[in-house]
Protein backbone atom coordinates (compact mmCIF):
# COMPACT_ATOMS: atom_id res chain seq x y z
CA UNK A 1 0.00 0.00 0.00
CA UNK A 2 1.28 3.44 -0.84
CA UNK A 3 1.88 5.69 2.14
CA UNK A 4 -0.62 8.55 2.18
CA UNK A 5 0.94 11.85 1.26
CA UNK A 6 1.37 14.67 3.76
CA UNK A 7 -1.11 17.45 3.11
CA UNK A 8 0.39 20.91 2.73
CA UNK A 9 -1.33 24.31 2.81
CA UNK A 10 0.18 27.70 1.99
CA UNK A 11 -0.94 30.82 3.84
CA UNK A 12 0.04 34.43 3.38
CA UNK A 13 0.05 37.34 5.84
CA UNK A 14 1.71 40.75 5.37
CA UNK A 15 3.97 40.29 2.34
CA UNK A 16 4.25 40.56 -1.45
CA UNK A 17 3.63 36.85 -2.19
CA UNK A 18 6.93 36.71 -4.05
CA UNK A 19 8.12 33.74 -2.02
CA UNK A 20 5.07 31.68 -2.97
CA UNK A 21 5.85 32.59 -6.55
CA UNK A 22 9.32 31.12 -6.01
CA UNK A 23 7.63 27.84 -5.08
CA UNK A 24 5.85 27.87 -8.43
CA UNK A 25 9.22 28.69 -10.03
CA UNK A 26 10.65 25.43 -8.71
CA UNK A 27 9.32 23.82 -11.92
CA UNK A 28 10.38 20.17 -12.20
CA UNK A 29 11.74 20.15 -8.65
CA UNK A 30 8.21 20.99 -7.48
CA UNK A 31 6.91 17.98 -9.41
CA UNK A 32 9.47 15.79 -7.59
CA UNK A 33 8.35 17.21 -4.25
CA UNK A 34 4.73 16.55 -5.22
CA UNK A 35 5.59 12.83 -5.37
CA UNK A 36 5.69 13.03 -1.58
CA UNK A 37 3.18 15.70 -0.64
CA UNK A 38 -0.28 16.84 -1.63
CA UNK A 39 -1.03 20.54 -1.77
CA UNK A 40 -4.51 21.25 -0.44
CA UNK A 41 -4.41 25.03 -0.28
CA UNK A 42 -2.29 27.35 -2.42
CA UNK A 43 -3.97 30.54 -3.52
CA UNK A 44 -1.33 31.35 -6.15
CA UNK A 45 -1.61 28.02 -7.91
CA UNK A 46 -4.99 26.42 -7.26
CA UNK A 47 -8.66 27.34 -7.13
CA UNK A 48 -10.38 24.86 -4.79
CA UNK A 49 -8.69 25.00 -1.40
CA UNK A 50 -9.31 22.45 1.36
CA UNK A 51 -8.70 22.70 5.05
CA UNK A 52 -7.40 19.23 5.95
CA UNK A 53 -3.69 20.16 6.10
CA UNK A 54 -0.95 18.74 8.37
CA UNK A 55 1.80 21.05 7.20
CA UNK A 56 1.40 24.82 7.05
CA UNK A 57 3.78 26.90 4.97
CA UNK A 58 3.40 30.47 6.16
CA UNK A 59 4.50 33.50 4.23
CA UNK A 60 4.35 37.06 5.56
CA UNK A 61 4.70 38.85 8.85
CA UNK A 62 2.16 39.54 11.57
CA UNK A 63 0.88 43.11 11.59
CA UNK A 64 -2.71 43.08 12.96
CA UNK A 65 -4.54 41.57 15.92
CA UNK A 66 -6.58 39.60 13.40
CA UNK A 67 -3.34 38.07 12.03
CA UNK A 68 -2.53 36.80 15.51
CA UNK A 69 -5.90 35.04 15.82
CA UNK A 70 -5.67 33.55 12.36
CA UNK A 71 -2.10 32.24 12.73
CA UNK A 72 -2.78 30.78 16.17
CA UNK A 73 -5.63 28.83 14.63
CA UNK A 74 -3.37 27.53 11.86
CA UNK A 75 -0.77 26.41 14.41
CA UNK A 76 -3.44 24.50 16.32
CA UNK A 77 -4.21 22.35 13.30
CA UNK A 78 -0.77 22.03 11.70
CA UNK A 79 1.64 19.37 12.91
CA UNK A 80 4.51 21.22 11.26
CA UNK A 81 4.92 24.93 10.50
CA UNK A 82 7.37 26.26 7.93
CA UNK A 83 8.16 29.99 7.87
CA UNK A 84 8.65 30.97 4.24
CA UNK A 85 10.64 34.07 3.37
CA UNK A 86 12.05 37.08 5.18
CA UNK A 87 8.68 38.55 6.24
CA UNK A 88 7.77 35.37 8.09
CA UNK A 89 11.24 34.57 9.43
CA UNK A 90 12.51 38.01 10.50
CA UNK A 91 9.74 40.50 9.82
CA UNK A 92 11.04 41.51 6.42
CA UNK A 93 11.03 44.89 4.73
CA UNK A 94 7.65 45.81 6.20
CA UNK A 95 9.23 45.83 9.68
CA UNK A 96 10.83 49.16 8.74
CA UNK A 97 7.53 50.48 10.09
CA UNK A 98 8.78 49.59 13.58
CA UNK A 99 11.55 52.17 13.35
CA UNK A 100 9.06 54.97 14.02
CA UNK A 101 6.27 55.10 16.63
CA UNK A 102 3.19 53.29 15.38
CA UNK A 103 0.89 56.35 15.25
CA UNK A 104 3.40 58.24 13.08
CA UNK A 105 3.72 55.28 10.71
CA UNK A 106 -0.05 55.11 10.44
CA UNK A 107 -0.35 58.84 9.72
CA UNK A 108 2.32 58.61 7.04
CA UNK A 109 0.59 55.84 5.17
CA UNK A 110 -3.12 56.38 5.74
CA UNK A 111 -3.19 60.16 6.44
CA UNK A 112 -6.61 61.29 7.76
CA UNK A 113 -7.92 57.71 7.69
CA UNK A 114 -5.21 56.55 10.08
CA UNK A 115 -7.63 55.74 12.88
CA UNK A 116 -9.57 53.35 10.65
CA UNK A 117 -6.66 50.90 10.46
CA UNK A 118 -5.92 48.83 13.52
CA UNK A 119 -2.39 47.66 12.95
CA UNK A 120 0.31 46.63 15.41
CA UNK A 121 4.11 46.58 15.32
CA UNK A 122 5.37 44.07 12.73
CA UNK A 123 6.45 40.69 14.09
CA UNK A 124 8.08 37.67 12.51
CA UNK A 125 5.73 34.72 12.99
CA UNK A 126 7.87 33.02 15.65
CA UNK A 127 7.02 35.88 18.01
CA UNK A 128 3.45 34.53 17.95
CA UNK A 129 3.65 30.80 17.25
CA UNK A 130 6.25 28.03 17.34
CA UNK A 131 8.06 27.51 14.02
CA UNK A 132 9.59 24.16 13.02
CA UNK A 133 11.46 25.10 9.83
CA UNK A 134 12.83 28.42 8.61
CA UNK A 135 13.38 29.25 4.94
CA UNK A 136 15.05 32.66 4.98
CA UNK A 137 15.47 35.11 2.14
CA UNK A 138 13.73 37.81 0.14
CA UNK A 139 12.85 35.96 -1.94
CA UNK A 140 13.60 32.40 -0.81
CA UNK A 141 16.19 30.48 -2.82
CA UNK A 142 14.72 27.51 -4.74
CA UNK A 143 17.56 25.17 -3.67
CA UNK A 144 16.95 25.90 -0.02
CA UNK A 145 13.21 25.35 -0.40
CA UNK A 146 13.91 21.91 -1.87
CA UNK A 147 16.43 21.18 0.90
CA UNK A 148 13.97 22.09 3.66
CA UNK A 149 11.23 19.94 2.13
CA UNK A 150 13.67 17.02 1.97
CA UNK A 151 14.55 17.44 5.64
CA UNK A 152 10.87 17.67 6.53
CA UNK A 153 10.06 14.48 4.61
CA UNK A 154 12.99 12.65 6.18
CA UNK A 155 11.87 13.88 9.57
CA UNK A 156 15.14 15.63 10.33
CA UNK A 157 16.12 19.10 11.40
CA UNK A 158 17.28 21.63 8.80
CA UNK A 159 20.47 23.37 9.90
CA UNK A 160 20.30 26.96 8.72
CA UNK A 161 23.91 28.10 8.31
CA UNK A 162 25.16 30.22 11.18
CA UNK A 163 28.06 31.71 9.28
CA UNK A 164 28.07 34.89 7.21
CA UNK A 165 27.38 35.28 3.48
CA UNK A 166 31.08 36.16 2.98
CA UNK A 167 31.93 32.49 3.42
CA UNK A 168 29.86 31.52 0.39
CA UNK A 169 30.93 34.64 -1.44
CA UNK A 170 34.60 33.71 -1.08
CA UNK A 171 33.94 30.11 -2.09
CA UNK A 172 32.43 31.60 -5.25
CA UNK A 173 35.59 33.68 -5.65
CA UNK A 174 33.81 37.01 -6.07
CA UNK A 175 35.80 40.21 -5.87
CA UNK A 176 34.78 41.63 -2.49
CA UNK A 177 32.61 44.74 -2.85
CA UNK A 178 34.69 46.51 -0.22
CA UNK A 179 37.61 46.21 -2.63
CA UNK A 180 35.46 47.95 -5.22
CA UNK A 181 34.76 50.84 -2.83
CA UNK A 182 31.20 49.64 -2.26
CA UNK A 183 29.71 48.31 0.96
CA UNK A 184 27.95 45.12 1.78
CA UNK A 185 26.06 43.45 4.65
CA UNK A 186 27.63 40.07 3.89
CA UNK A 187 29.85 39.94 7.01
CA UNK A 188 26.90 39.95 9.44
CA UNK A 189 24.22 38.26 7.34
CA UNK A 190 23.29 34.60 7.67
CA UNK A 191 24.49 32.52 4.72
CA UNK A 192 22.49 29.88 2.87
CA UNK A 193 21.75 31.79 -0.34
CA UNK A 194 25.11 30.90 -1.91
CA UNK A 195 25.85 34.67 -2.02
CA UNK A 196 23.14 34.96 -4.66
CA UNK A 197 23.14 38.77 -4.89
CA UNK A 198 26.89 39.31 -4.96
CA UNK A 199 27.31 36.58 -7.61
CA UNK A 200 24.97 38.65 -9.76
CA UNK A 201 26.68 41.98 -9.31
CA UNK A 202 24.56 43.26 -6.43
CA UNK A 203 25.42 43.95 -2.79
CA UNK A 204 24.16 41.85 0.11
CA UNK A 205 21.23 43.70 1.76
CA UNK A 206 20.93 41.30 4.67
CA UNK A 207 17.59 39.76 3.70
CA UNK A 208 18.34 36.52 5.56
CA UNK A 209 18.73 38.30 8.87
CA UNK A 210 21.76 38.58 11.12
CA UNK A 211 23.87 35.61 12.16
CA UNK A 212 23.45 34.56 15.80
CA UNK A 213 26.40 36.53 17.05
CA UNK A 214 27.13 39.35 14.60
CA UNK A 215 30.11 41.63 15.20
CA UNK A 216 28.06 44.81 15.09
CA UNK A 217 30.82 47.10 16.33
CA UNK A 218 33.32 45.82 13.82
CA UNK A 219 30.73 46.03 11.03
CA UNK A 220 29.88 49.63 12.02
CA UNK A 221 33.56 50.53 11.98
CA UNK A 222 33.92 49.04 8.52
CA UNK A 223 30.86 50.86 7.15
CA UNK A 224 32.03 54.10 8.74
CA UNK A 225 35.47 53.54 7.26
CA UNK A 226 33.83 53.33 3.86
CA UNK A 227 32.23 56.73 4.35
CA UNK A 228 28.75 55.91 5.64
CA UNK A 229 27.25 58.16 8.33
CA UNK A 230 25.26 56.88 11.31
CA UNK A 231 21.88 57.11 9.57
CA UNK A 232 23.10 55.32 6.49
CA UNK A 233 24.53 52.60 8.69
CA UNK A 234 21.20 52.25 10.49
CA UNK A 235 19.44 52.06 7.11
CA UNK A 236 21.80 49.26 6.11
CA UNK A 237 21.30 47.43 9.36
CA UNK A 238 17.54 47.74 9.48
CA UNK A 239 16.33 47.36 5.91
CA UNK A 240 15.52 43.79 6.87
CA UNK A 241 16.28 43.55 10.55
CA UNK A 242 14.34 46.38 12.18
CA UNK A 243 12.72 43.80 14.45
CA UNK A 244 16.08 43.22 16.10
CA UNK A 245 15.77 46.59 17.81
CA UNK A 246 18.72 46.20 20.10
CA UNK A 247 21.12 46.58 17.17
CA UNK A 248 19.65 49.89 16.16
CA UNK A 249 20.00 51.05 19.73
CA UNK A 250 23.59 49.86 19.92
CA UNK A 251 24.53 51.76 16.78
CA UNK A 252 22.89 55.00 17.98
CA UNK A 253 24.79 54.83 21.24
Amino acid sequence: MKKSKAKVAFFDFTDCEGCQLQIVNLNTVLLDILEHIEIVNFREAMSEPRDDYDIAVIEGSISTEHDIKRITGIRKQAKVVIALGACATIGGVNAIKNRTPLNISLMRVYKDKADKFKTIAVKPIDQVIKVDYYIHGCPVHPNEVAEVFKCLLLGKKYDVPNYPVCVECKMNENVCLYQKEQNCMGPVTRAGCNSWCVNNGNICYGCRGLIDNPANDAQNDILANYGLDVNEIIDKFTLYTAVEKKYVKEIKE
Binding site: Y163, V175, C176, A215, I222
Partner: protein
Protein backbone atom coordinates in the same frame (compact mmCIF):
# COMPACT_ATOMS: atom_id res chain seq x y z
CA UNK B 1 67.49 16.11 -19.94
CA UNK B 2 69.50 18.94 -18.44
CA UNK B 3 68.03 20.68 -15.42
CA UNK B 4 67.56 23.93 -17.32
CA UNK B 5 66.07 24.73 -20.72
CA UNK B 6 64.69 27.83 -22.39
CA UNK B 7 61.83 28.95 -24.57
CA UNK B 8 61.59 32.10 -26.62
CA UNK B 9 58.51 34.25 -25.90
CA UNK B 10 57.42 33.99 -29.52
CA UNK B 11 57.09 30.23 -29.12
CA UNK B 12 55.38 30.41 -25.75
CA UNK B 13 51.75 30.15 -26.91
CA UNK B 14 52.68 27.25 -29.15
CA UNK B 15 53.91 25.40 -26.11
CA UNK B 16 50.79 26.28 -24.11
CA UNK B 17 48.59 24.96 -26.90
CA UNK B 18 50.56 21.74 -26.96
CA UNK B 19 49.78 21.13 -23.27
CA UNK B 20 46.26 20.11 -24.24
CA UNK B 21 47.43 16.50 -24.50
CA UNK B 22 48.44 16.52 -20.84
CA UNK B 23 45.03 17.34 -19.42
CA UNK B 24 42.98 20.40 -18.63
CA UNK B 25 44.90 23.66 -18.36
CA UNK B 26 44.24 26.05 -15.45
CA UNK B 27 45.91 29.41 -15.04
CA UNK B 28 45.48 33.02 -13.87
CA UNK B 29 42.91 35.10 -15.73
CA UNK B 30 41.49 38.60 -15.15
CA UNK B 31 38.25 39.00 -13.19
CA UNK B 32 36.82 42.38 -12.26
CA UNK B 33 40.22 44.03 -11.87
CA UNK B 34 41.62 41.05 -9.92
CA UNK B 35 42.86 37.64 -10.99
CA UNK B 36 41.49 34.14 -10.50
CA UNK B 37 42.64 30.67 -11.53
CA UNK B 38 40.26 29.38 -14.18
CA UNK B 39 40.26 26.84 -17.00
CA UNK B 40 42.19 28.34 -19.92
CA UNK B 41 40.28 27.68 -23.12
CA UNK B 42 42.12 30.18 -25.29
CA UNK B 43 45.79 30.67 -24.39
CA UNK B 44 45.41 34.42 -24.96
CA UNK B 45 43.33 34.62 -21.75
CA UNK B 46 46.27 33.53 -19.61
CA UNK B 47 47.78 36.51 -17.78
CA UNK B 48 51.04 35.75 -16.01
CA UNK B 49 51.53 39.30 -14.77
CA UNK B 50 49.30 39.19 -11.71
CA UNK B 51 49.00 39.83 -7.99
CA UNK B 52 47.94 36.69 -6.09
CA UNK B 53 44.54 35.38 -7.20
CA UNK B 54 41.46 35.80 -4.95
CA UNK B 55 41.47 32.10 -4.00
CA UNK B 56 44.74 30.18 -4.06
CA UNK B 57 45.01 27.21 -6.41
CA UNK B 58 44.07 24.96 -3.46
CA UNK B 59 40.58 24.84 -4.95
CA UNK B 60 41.95 22.36 -7.52
CA UNK B 61 43.40 19.83 -5.07
CA UNK B 62 41.10 20.63 -2.12
CA UNK B 63 37.85 21.89 -3.72
CA UNK B 64 35.40 24.16 -1.84
CA UNK B 65 32.77 21.41 -1.88
CA UNK B 66 33.92 17.92 -2.68
CA UNK B 67 32.06 14.62 -2.96
CA UNK B 68 33.39 11.95 -0.64
CA UNK B 69 30.87 9.13 -0.73
CA UNK B 70 27.70 7.94 -2.45
CA UNK B 71 25.10 6.14 -0.41
CA UNK B 72 21.66 4.55 -0.56
CA UNK B 73 19.45 4.42 2.50
CA UNK B 74 17.34 1.34 1.62
CA UNK B 75 18.98 -1.09 1.19
CA UNK B 76 21.94 0.58 2.84
CA UNK B 77 24.92 0.78 0.47
CA UNK B 78 27.95 3.02 0.04
CA UNK B 79 30.33 3.58 -2.88
CA UNK B 80 33.13 5.88 -3.95
CA UNK B 81 31.70 9.20 -5.07
CA UNK B 82 34.37 9.89 -7.68
CA UNK B 83 35.54 7.06 -9.89
CA UNK B 84 38.11 8.82 -12.03
CA UNK B 85 40.24 11.87 -11.29
CA UNK B 86 41.53 13.84 -14.25
CA UNK B 87 45.03 14.87 -15.25
CA UNK B 88 45.52 18.65 -15.22
CA UNK B 89 48.19 21.29 -15.60
CA UNK B 90 48.24 24.14 -13.09
CA UNK B 91 50.05 26.89 -14.93
CA UNK B 92 51.60 30.13 -13.73
CA UNK B 93 51.72 29.48 -9.99
CA UNK B 94 53.64 31.96 -7.81
CA UNK B 95 56.39 30.63 -5.54
CA UNK B 96 54.34 31.53 -2.43
CA UNK B 97 51.47 29.36 -3.66
CA UNK B 98 53.87 26.52 -4.37
CA UNK B 99 54.93 26.77 -0.73
CA UNK B 100 51.20 26.49 0.05
CA UNK B 101 51.00 23.28 -1.97
CA UNK B 102 53.96 21.92 0.00
CA UNK B 103 52.17 22.69 3.29
CA UNK B 104 48.99 20.93 2.15
CA UNK B 105 51.07 17.96 1.10
CA UNK B 106 52.56 17.65 4.56
CA UNK B 107 49.08 17.66 6.08
CA UNK B 108 47.15 15.41 3.72
CA UNK B 109 49.91 12.85 3.29
CA UNK B 110 49.98 12.11 7.00
CA UNK B 111 48.31 8.86 8.11
CA UNK B 112 45.48 8.34 7.53
CA UNK B 113 46.20 9.45 3.96
CA UNK B 114 43.57 11.68 2.41
CA UNK B 115 42.63 9.72 -0.71
CA UNK B 116 40.76 12.51 -2.48
CA UNK B 117 43.57 15.00 -2.02
CA UNK B 118 46.25 12.56 -3.13
CA UNK B 119 44.24 11.45 -6.16
CA UNK B 120 43.90 15.02 -7.34
CA UNK B 121 47.37 16.11 -6.41
CA UNK B 122 49.07 13.17 -8.14
CA UNK B 123 47.35 14.08 -11.39
CA UNK B 124 48.51 17.67 -11.24
CA UNK B 125 51.48 19.10 -13.14
CA UNK B 126 52.64 22.36 -11.57
CA UNK B 127 54.23 25.05 -13.70
CA UNK B 128 55.45 27.97 -11.61
CA UNK B 129 56.29 31.52 -12.59
CA UNK B 130 58.93 33.43 -10.65
CA UNK B 131 57.96 36.92 -9.43
CA UNK B 132 60.39 39.65 -10.50
CA UNK B 133 58.85 42.47 -8.47
CA UNK B 134 57.03 42.35 -5.11
CA UNK B 135 53.21 42.16 -5.39
CA UNK B 136 51.97 44.97 -3.16
CA UNK B 137 52.03 46.22 0.42
CA UNK B 138 50.18 43.14 1.69
CA UNK B 139 52.57 40.32 0.80
CA UNK B 140 55.16 39.09 3.31
CA UNK B 141 56.82 36.48 1.12
CA UNK B 142 60.36 37.74 1.63
CA UNK B 143 60.23 37.27 5.39
CA UNK B 144 58.83 33.80 4.84
CA UNK B 145 61.57 33.06 2.30
CA UNK B 146 59.12 32.23 -0.45
CA UNK B 147 59.88 34.94 -3.03
CA UNK B 148 62.39 32.63 -4.73
CA UNK B 149 61.80 29.10 -6.06
CA UNK B 150 62.57 26.38 -3.53
CA UNK B 151 61.20 23.25 -5.18
CA UNK B 152 57.73 21.78 -4.90
CA UNK B 153 56.97 22.24 -8.60
CA UNK B 154 57.50 20.34 -11.84
CA UNK B 155 58.59 23.37 -13.83
CA UNK B 156 59.60 26.90 -12.85
CA UNK B 157 59.66 29.67 -15.43
CA UNK B 158 61.77 32.77 -15.03
CA UNK B 159 61.30 35.68 -17.40
CA UNK B 160 64.69 36.95 -18.54
CA UNK B 161 63.57 39.35 -21.26
CA UNK B 162 62.75 37.83 -24.62
CA UNK B 163 62.68 34.29 -23.26
CA UNK B 164 61.85 32.18 -20.22
CA UNK B 165 64.43 30.02 -18.47
CA UNK B 166 62.80 26.70 -17.60
CA UNK B 167 63.83 24.87 -14.44
CA UNK B 168 63.04 21.19 -14.91
CA UNK B 169 62.30 19.60 -11.56
CA UNK B 170 60.61 16.25 -12.25
CA UNK B 171 60.06 13.45 -14.72
CA UNK B 172 56.57 14.85 -15.32
CA UNK B 173 58.20 18.10 -16.38
CA UNK B 174 60.24 16.31 -19.01
CA UNK B 175 57.12 14.81 -20.51
CA UNK B 176 55.61 18.21 -21.22
CA UNK B 177 58.85 19.58 -22.68
CA UNK B 178 60.24 16.78 -24.79
CA UNK B 179 59.76 16.49 -28.55
CA UNK B 180 59.31 20.19 -28.93
CA UNK B 181 62.05 21.59 -31.11
CA UNK B 182 61.45 25.16 -29.89
CA UNK B 183 62.48 24.23 -26.36
CA UNK B 184 66.22 24.63 -26.37
CA UNK B 185 69.14 23.78 -24.15
CA UNK B 186 70.50 26.56 -21.98
CA UNK B 187 73.96 27.89 -22.70
CA UNK B 188 76.15 29.54 -20.07
CA UNK B 189 74.99 33.00 -21.16
CA UNK B 190 71.43 31.97 -20.20
CA UNK B 191 72.54 30.89 -16.73
CA UNK B 192 74.24 34.23 -16.42
CA UNK B 193 70.97 35.99 -17.23
CA UNK B 194 69.18 33.95 -14.57
CA UNK B 195 71.81 34.85 -11.96
CA UNK B 196 71.49 38.51 -12.88
CA UNK B 197 67.71 38.39 -12.39
CA UNK B 198 68.14 36.84 -8.94
CA UNK B 199 70.75 39.44 -7.94
CA UNK B 200 68.43 42.23 -8.99
CA UNK B 201 65.64 40.66 -6.94
CA UNK B 202 67.79 40.69 -3.82
CA UNK B 203 67.85 44.48 -4.08
CA UNK B 204 64.15 45.10 -4.62
CA UNK B 205 62.59 42.44 -2.38
CA UNK B 206 62.80 43.69 1.22
CA UNK B 207 61.93 41.75 4.36
CA UNK B 208 58.52 42.78 5.62
CA UNK B 209 58.87 41.67 9.24
CA UNK B 210 61.18 43.61 11.54
CA UNK B 211 62.59 40.35 12.91
CA UNK B 212 63.77 36.99 11.65
CA UNK B 213 61.71 33.80 11.80
CA UNK B 214 63.73 32.44 14.74
CA UNK B 215 62.82 35.52 16.76
CA UNK B 216 59.23 35.13 15.63
CA UNK B 217 59.06 31.66 17.13
CA UNK B 218 60.15 33.05 20.49
CA UNK B 219 57.62 35.88 20.15
CA UNK B 220 54.74 33.48 19.57
CA UNK B 221 55.90 31.25 22.40
CA UNK B 222 55.62 34.16 24.84
CA UNK B 223 52.78 36.41 23.70
CA UNK B 224 49.72 34.16 23.90
CA UNK B 225 48.08 36.54 26.34
CA UNK B 226 49.09 39.78 24.66
CA UNK B 227 46.61 42.67 24.48
CA UNK B 228 47.30 42.73 20.75
CA UNK B 229 44.90 39.79 20.31
CA UNK B 230 42.15 41.77 22.04
CA UNK B 231 42.61 44.64 19.63
CA UNK B 232 42.61 42.35 16.58
CA UNK B 233 39.50 40.58 17.90
CA UNK B 234 37.68 43.85 18.41
CA UNK B 235 38.20 44.93 14.83
CA UNK B 236 37.51 41.52 13.27
CA UNK B 237 34.01 41.12 11.86
CA UNK B 238 34.31 37.33 11.72
CA UNK B 239 33.62 37.05 8.00
CA UNK B 240 36.05 34.18 7.50
CA UNK B 241 37.56 35.64 4.34
CA UNK B 242 41.09 35.38 5.73
CA UNK B 243 40.89 31.63 6.19
CA UNK B 244 39.02 30.93 2.94
CA UNK B 245 41.71 32.65 0.88
CA UNK B 246 44.66 31.18 2.78
CA UNK B 247 46.60 28.58 0.80
CA UNK B 248 47.40 26.61 3.97
CA UNK B 249 43.98 26.52 5.67
CA UNK B 250 42.55 23.05 5.20
CA UNK B 251 39.68 22.66 7.67
CA UNK B 252 36.40 21.27 6.43
CA UNK B 253 32.98 20.14 7.61
CA UNK B 254 31.24 16.99 6.43
CA UNK B 255 27.58 16.92 5.39
CA UNK B 256 25.11 14.55 3.75
CA UNK B 257 22.65 15.50 1.05
CA UNK B 258 19.82 13.26 -0.06
CA UNK B 259 18.16 13.57 -3.46
CA UNK B 260 14.44 14.09 -3.94
CA UNK B 261 13.74 10.37 -4.17
CA UNK B 262 14.66 10.45 -0.45
CA UNK B 263 16.88 7.40 -0.87
CA UNK B 264 20.06 8.24 -2.81
CA UNK B 265 22.54 10.52 -1.14
CA UNK B 266 25.98 12.08 -1.35
CA UNK B 267 28.39 12.87 1.44
CA UNK B 268 30.40 16.04 0.92
CA UNK B 269 33.12 17.97 2.60
CA UNK B 270 32.80 21.74 2.62
CA UNK B 271 35.44 24.33 3.53
CA UNK B 272 35.04 25.48 7.11
CA UNK B 273 37.24 27.53 9.37
CA UNK B 274 38.20 28.50 12.90
CA UNK B 275 36.74 31.98 12.30
CA UNK B 276 33.18 30.60 12.29
CA UNK B 277 31.04 31.02 15.39
CA UNK B 278 30.07 27.34 15.54
CA UNK B 279 33.46 25.88 14.62
CA UNK B 280 34.58 24.93 18.12
CA UNK B 281 31.10 24.20 19.46
CA UNK B 282 30.37 20.63 20.53
CA UNK B 283 27.21 18.73 21.41
CA UNK B 284 25.63 20.38 24.40
CA UNK B 285 26.55 23.82 23.08
CA UNK B 286 29.92 24.20 24.82
CA UNK B 287 32.27 26.43 22.80
CA UNK B 288 35.97 25.72 23.23
CA UNK B 289 37.12 28.90 21.57
CA UNK B 290 34.55 31.64 22.13
CA UNK B 291 35.11 35.17 20.92
CA UNK B 292 36.83 36.73 17.95
CA UNK B 293 40.06 37.51 19.80
CA UNK B 294 40.69 33.87 20.62
CA UNK B 295 39.76 32.87 17.09
CA UNK B 296 42.07 35.37 15.43
CA UNK B 297 44.86 34.38 17.77
CA UNK B 298 44.27 30.78 16.83
CA UNK B 299 44.60 31.64 13.14
CA UNK B 300 47.98 33.26 13.70
CA UNK B 301 49.17 30.41 15.92
CA UNK B 302 48.18 27.96 13.18
CA UNK B 303 50.62 29.78 10.89
CA UNK B 304 53.49 30.75 13.19
CA UNK B 305 53.63 28.31 16.12
CA UNK B 306 51.71 25.02 16.04
CA UNK B 307 52.88 23.78 12.60
CA UNK B 308 56.48 24.53 13.51
CA UNK B 309 56.10 22.26 16.53
CA UNK B 310 54.27 19.62 14.53
CA UNK B 311 55.78 19.73 11.03
CA UNK B 312 58.87 21.96 11.43
CA UNK B 313 57.38 24.30 8.86
CA UNK B 314 55.87 27.77 8.89
CA UNK B 315 52.33 27.67 7.53
CA UNK B 316 52.32 31.24 6.30
CA UNK B 317 53.52 31.44 2.72
CA UNK B 318 53.58 35.24 2.65
CA UNK B 319 51.04 35.49 -0.18
CA UNK B 320 49.33 38.40 1.60
CA UNK B 321 45.82 37.22 0.71
CA UNK B 322 44.46 37.41 4.26
CA UNK B 323 45.46 41.06 4.60
CA UNK B 324 44.41 41.93 1.06
CA UNK B 325 40.91 40.51 1.56
CA UNK B 326 40.18 41.83 5.05
CA UNK B 327 37.56 44.61 5.00
CA UNK B 328 38.46 45.40 8.61
CA UNK B 329 42.01 46.07 7.43
CA UNK B 330 43.60 43.59 9.79
CA UNK B 331 47.07 43.28 8.35
CA UNK B 332 49.24 40.25 9.07
CA UNK B 333 52.55 42.09 8.73
CA UNK B 334 51.38 44.82 11.10
CA UNK B 335 50.14 42.30 13.66
CA UNK B 336 53.37 40.32 13.54
CA UNK B 337 55.51 43.45 13.78
CA UNK B 338 53.57 44.77 16.78
CA UNK B 339 54.07 41.41 18.47
CA UNK B 340 57.80 41.54 17.80
CA UNK B 341 57.94 45.09 19.15
CA UNK B 342 56.01 44.18 22.27
CA UNK B 343 58.23 41.17 22.85
CA UNK B 344 61.38 43.27 22.52
CA UNK B 345 59.98 45.83 24.95
CA UNK B 346 59.05 43.17 27.47
CA UNK B 347 62.52 41.60 27.17
CA UNK B 348 64.28 44.86 27.97
CA UNK B 349 61.77 45.67 30.69
CA UNK B 350 59.76 48.56 29.19
Amino acid sequence: MERYAKISKKDFNRWLESLEDHGKLYGPKKKDGRHVFRPIKDVKELDLNYISTILPPKKYYFPQKERLLKFKIKPFKTAKAIRKFEEFVLFGVHTCDIAGIQCMDVVFRQEPLDANYINRKDRMTTVGIECLTPCDKYANCVSMGNHVPKGGYDIMLTDVGNKYIIHINSAKAESILRQRSYIKKCISADRYLLDAVRKKKEKIFKEEFIGRLTELYAVFSKLYDSEIWKDVGKRCVGCGNCTAVCPTCYCFDVLDEVSLNLNDGLRYRLWNSCQMDDFAKVAGGEDFRPGRSARQRHRYYRKFKYPIDKFSRYFCTGCGRCSRTCMAEINLTETVNSLIREHRNVSIGI
